[in-house]
Symmetry: C2
Subunit: 231 residues, 2 copies
């Protein structure tokens, strides 16, 4: 059984600029140990990877949304729900206008799993620690109001933990048991980040060691269209 888990906000990170050594800054600011899960918000990953672009003032951010979308699922007023090249279904193709300078927009990382791997490898190289890394973003969802944080990339973690075949507390085989722990970890981290408090990194300590391993959000969490009842 898992014991207590701690969610720790990482404070004191400077404003991130293109080309910044994000892992180095996290290594400075956080007190990391083997088995920690480091959750990094998409915004600072996009900034470090120079994915912040100008918005053409004549047309606004809408052409960016079209360019970042492979398919539009729904439109209503200013809102576009579309599928990105990664396969994420979200508002405005994940393009973010908050916490970036006026007239600029932050696009999603090109390959958020790779972003997570790079941070993980750099933290291991620099600190000698074996941690998992999640890149998180804030998505809405159908049927339920409000946004929650989910994972868009990960490294060193099995994103979906398959408990099929294990038995429940009454000794019977469990039915639906593929738990998307990567998204539960991203959501948990958001609780100590806060949308307005400028804390873009959190450390989760005490996670079940069996969840560590290999995996990719794009490969393991994005549902294929043929397996998806709502696309």
């Amino acid at each position: 059984m898992t014991g207590t888990i701690s969610l720790v906000p990482v404070t004191g990170l400077p404003e991130i600029a293109p080309g910044d050594d994000l892992a180095g800054m996290i290594a400075e600011a956080a007190d990391l140990a083997d088995g920690d899960v480091v959750v990094v918000t998409q915004k600072i990953v996009s900034k470090a990877e120079d994915r912040v672009v100008d918005i053409d003032p004549a047309v606004g951010h809408k052409p960016l949304v079209e360019a970042e979308s492979v398919r539009v699922l729904r439109r209503r007023g200013n809102l576009v729900i579309s599928e990105t090249e990664h396969g994420f279904v979200c508002a405005n193709a994940g393009i973010d206008l908050s916490n970036v300078p006026e007239g600029r927009a932050a696009l999603l990382p090109v390959d958020p799993d790779r972003s997570a791997r790079r941070i993980r490898d750099a933290l291991r190289h620099r600190l000698g620690v074996d941690v998992a890394v999640i890149v998180s973003d804030t998505f809405g969802r159908p049927w339920r109001a409000g946004v929650t944080d989910v994972a868009i990339g990960c490294a060193g973690l099995r994103p979906v933990v398959d408990l099929r075949g294990t038995t429940d507390a009454l000794g019977r085989e469990l039915q639906v048991t593929e738990v998307a722990v990567v998204d539960e970890l991203a959501a948990a981290a958001e609780l100590v980040m806060g949308k307005a408090s400028g804390v873009p990194v959190a450390v989760i300590r005490g996670v079940d060691p069996s969840w560590f391993g290999d995996g990719s959000v794009v490969a393991d969490v994005v549902r294929s269209p043929e397996d998806d009842l709502f696309r």
Copy 2:
């Protein structure tokens, strides 16, 4: 800014039976303090509220799913995605066949917000503590593989925290900022419960005090059909 948050599994609860004093059992097993969030899984709430019913062996659980649904959104093979009377959209109308005796099925509580209020009131009466209570359940979601825990009821908590009008770290007004903290709390709690470990209650300590207040999952989180692009 929020500091560290702890997720603490509550162990040692006995098997729950109809009519059991669930709040009393939680009060015995957990070490609660003002400002804690107590997350209780639907399964034991349904058991205590005697919502476990027989499955007719001649027809299986499908007629129960139909009876508990007000509308079916999708069907594929044995899977039905439907809307419950509460307005939840989930698989098999939230009916659960695991962790109940063979031939029985656990239906959702009739009013999970009321269930949460009762537990909260009883804990205050018994222990003199002011806690928030969430009733959680495990739902799938479109577009992303795996299940995560979400809230189906709450008491003493604002389920969706509206940060509109507050400014981001660069002093600009935030855009999409209605955060469904109730679901992020439910997801976080699941990390220490585990599907197979038989831990049906978790305590979350260190939550932002401004999130406490009044609210209802059914009233505040369930999206009205006219506001919903996917119904």
